[in-house]
């Protein structure tokens, strides 16, 4: 990822407040980490099974990993689904996927008498295979990036969302040719609420199509091909969010996705997914992402699309601190923590551009090694495409001046339709023009001491720190319950997917987790 260009423009902010904010974020995350360590979820278990080789579908169209986990008695599940799989592998002498399939035909307690040591030993080679496979994809990416270097950041990111993976493939290739460096395939609205990962290539969905392993592979192949042709590596991203966060991360690791949307609180607030489920799931998925070299993108932009951007700026920064703390606990190095922000300030507000600049620069200075993800204006895009294109240009200028890393290109037709191929091309041309013509602006500018921008940044930082202090004293779960984030209230045992959370037994075993931790980047 990008190195820091020096010297760059610089805001004078109180580094003591930054340090205090980090300390508070750690204090906020600590008690949740204790909960995470003593719990697992059905999706974590299924992710482990998938990495151990359990693939395909079982009864009907249900993924075999789902059927296997559902069949386990509560007491057995609490010891970890891998132990049950290991027992079947040891007893039947079959590969994990076959063993799982055979086990489903037998009584649920058929392997109860297999000693735990035998079960564990039976999976050992498969755990090694899983890690080898993840590492191979990671090394492959590294080699490709070396041979096919990316254009300098901000990396232009566009979405494809036709609802049909084959249409998406064509659109993605066209976007790459038009200058896109990162392609996101939007999922069908509602996938976050499915408690399984669909199978196979899909040509349907609303607002996007499903995240499936087959779809990942189709896009990866197409983008690898165009990468070779263009001489620069084009990245692929999808969504590790919702009820299947860990499994999506597992499949993404196997199919060499480069980034994943992966927020520690987004699902809780905006999808009403149970908070305990989300906290456990985000941790395991981030451990996987750390090993796979996948850059996470966090979702702070969502605070701004539902509320006023000027008012919510401290909440964005506070959430960035919390996301960073969670991510570091899962072993993610800073270079893989793509903290989010968005250019959402009301265009009618005097000096709104200065506020946006202050916020973006503030994040850049506080998280110097993070590949910051900058999201485009959406809330104030009206259907006036001419004005929209202009607002996008100022967003592009802010991004290049403050050296953002991942730049989601704004669409002039935002709020009208999912982007047409031509919209995407115009958007990329806009970004390419602004970023080229102002490439080194950030190295030429000095902020007026105690001017509007600097004072704004200082006040956002102070308010974020105060917000973190309140959350730390109340506890994260209770703060969410009280509506601290985005004015949304969620209860610890409410929301979707709570029934899939369980306490680990004393002899709980998850060999994938063991192999991942301590993660290489753990600090």
């Amino acid at each position: 990822m990008p190195g820091k260009a020096f010297p760059r423009m610089h805001l004078r902010i109180d580094s003591g407040v930054v340090a205090e904010s980090r300390r508070l974020a750690a204090a906020i995350v600590d008690p949740v980490s204790a909960f995470i360590r003593s719990h697992s979820t059905v999706s974590v278990e299924r992710a482990a099974l998938r990495l151990l080789g359990v693939a395909g579908t079982g009864e009907g169209a249900a993924p075999r990993a789902n059927v296997f986990v559902e069949r386990l008695a509560a007491g057995t599940l609490r010891r970890g689904a891998a132990l049950a799989l290991g027992a079947a592998v040891a007893e039947l002498g079959l590969e994990p996927s076959r063993a799982a399939a055979e086990a489903l035909l037998l009584a649920p307690d058929a392997f109860e008498r297999v000693p735990a040591e035998a079960a564990r030993a039976a999976l050992e080679p498969h755990v090694r295979d899983a890690m080898r496979c993840i590492d191979a994809r990671r090394d492959e990416r590294k080699a490709l990036l070396g041979r096919l270097p990316q254009a300098p950041p901000p990396l232009l990111y566009v979405i494809v969302a036709s609802g049909d993976i084959y249409e998406d493939r064509g659109a993605a290739v066209a976007a790459a040719e038009a200058g896109a460096q990162i392609i996101a395939v939007i999922r069908s609205t509602g996938q976050s609420l499915l408690d399984f990962v669909p199978e196979g290539a899909t040509t349907e969905g609303f607002g996007g199509t499903y995240a499936t392993q087959a779809n990942f592979r189709i896009m990866r192949e197409a983008l690898d091909e165009v990468s070779e042709r263009l001489g620069r590596y084009v990245m692929l991203t999808n969504y590790a969010s919702g009820l299947c966060m860990p499994e999506i991360a597992a499949l993404a690791a196997l199919e060499r996705l480069d980034m994943l949307l992966n927020d520690s609180m987004y699902g809780i607030l905006f999808r009403d997914i149970n908070m305990k489920r989300t906290f456990v799931d985000q941790h395991f998925s981030r451990m996987l992402n750390a090993r796979a070299g996948i850059i996470i993108n966090t979702g702070e932009d969502n605070y701004l699309t539902t509320a006023d951007a000027v008012e919510q700026a401290p909440a964005v920064l506070a959430s960035q601190f919390v996301n960073e703390a969670f991510a570091r606990r899962a072993g993610l190095p800073d270079a893989q923590i793509g903290l989010g922000d968005a250019y959402e300030i009301d265009p009618a507000l005097e000096d709104g551009f200065l506020f946006a600049l202050a916020q973006a620069q503030l994040a850049r200075q506080i998280f110097p090694d993070a590949p910051l993800k900058y999201m485009p204006p959406t809330k104030h895009m009206t259907g006036d495409i001419f004005k929209g294109h202009l607002i996008d240009a100022l967003f592009n200028l802010t991004s290049v001046a403050t050296n953002q890393t991942i730049h989601l290109c704004g669409m002039l037709t935002e709020a009208i339709h999912t982007p047409f191929l031509g919209d995407r091309a115009l958007s990329l041309e806009n970004a390419a023009y602004v970023m080229n013509t102002a490439r080194h602006l950030g190295e030429e500018i000095e902020f007026k001491p105690d001017g509007i921008v600097e004072r704004r940044a200082q006040s956002v930082l102070r308010d974020a720190c105060a917000l973190l202090e309140g959350i730390a004293s109340r506890g994260l779960m209770r703060s969410i319950e009280a509506g601290t984030f985005a004015d949304v209230r969620r209860s610890p045992d409410g929301g979707r997917g709570f029934e899939g959370v369980f306490e680990r037994a004393a002899d709980y075993w998850n060999p994938i987790e063991d192999a991942l931790s301590p993660a290489p980047a753990a600090r």
Binding site: T189, T306, A425
Partner: protein, 242 residues
């Protein structure tokens, strides 16, 4: 009296329009000509391809100026007019005087739609463009059920909480999913015998009053709607019914 008009460039009745579109062909001089002929075939005259260029392998983008021969009698056009705005205080007063109790409002994004930006703009206290949301009104009791609410859950809520006005929002419109969900809710309320009891209001960037009435809703609110417009509609209808 009829009044025929054409689009206006810089001279009355010049009929000037701008078009831009993508063609799935590689760019060439011939592609520019294809774009021109296509626009001629659409019925335009004086076609000028101002810009034509390649935007991807096998795709070209064009900006075209042209004149339309078509004129329209705008005197014959009728569209529902926006009512004069009412202030929050006036709306609250109307409810107090004419309804005599708080109006119960429930809002939700139904189906799988997770885009709450519209419903939040109308309901959240802080509102939209300086216009306070319904939660700020003294005479509305507001329940914002959030996103991805099933129509069954919403109907149950309407019954259990004696809701007066239901605001449903759909932002994702791909492949008609919005119409499907709106219809499903209308039918379910009908089947449960709740439809006549409530004001049913649809919202979303592409919603219009016309579409809403086709769907059997009492009103539809589209892009740029202010909370006070929705509030005034609900208050006035409830006052009429009281």
């Amino acid at each position: 009296m009829s009044k025929f008009v054409k689009p206006y460039g810089d001279t009355l009745d010049d009929g000037k329009v701008q078009l831009s579109f993508t063609l799935p062909i590689e760019w060439s001089e011939a592609a520019d000509e294809a774009a021109r002929q296509l626009v001629v075939k659409m019925g335009f005259g004086d076609v000028v391809v101002a810009e034509g260029r390649r935007i991807a392998n096998g795709f070209s983008f064009f900006v075209v100026y042209a004149s339309t021969p078509v004129a329209l009698d705008v005197a014959a056009i009728a569209a529902p007019e926006r009512k004069a705005p009412m202030s929050m205080e006036a709306i609250d007063a109307l409810i107090r005087d004419r309804v005599g109790r708080k109006i119960v409002v429930a809002g939700a994004c139904i189906g799988t739609d997770a885009h709450t930006v519209g419903i939040d703009a109308i309901l959240n206290m802080k509102g939209y463009r300086g216009d306070y949301g319904l939660e700020r009104y003294k005479e509305f009791a507001v329940f914002n059920l959030g996103s991805q609410v099933s129509v069954e859950r919403l109907a149950r809520f309407v019954r259990d909480e004696s809701v007066d006005a239901v605001l449903v929002s759909q932002v994702v419109t791909q492949k008609g999913s919005d119409v499907h969900n709106f219809t499903a809710l209308g039918e379910l309320l009908e089947a449960e015998g709740l439809r006549d009891r409530v004001l049913l209001i649809a919202g979303g960037p592409r919603m219009t009053n016309l579409l809403a009435s086709e769907l059997g809703y009492d009103a539809g609110f589209g892009r740029g709607t202010l909370p006070s417009e929705v509030a005034a509609f609900v208050a006035q209808r409830m006052a009429e019914r009281a």
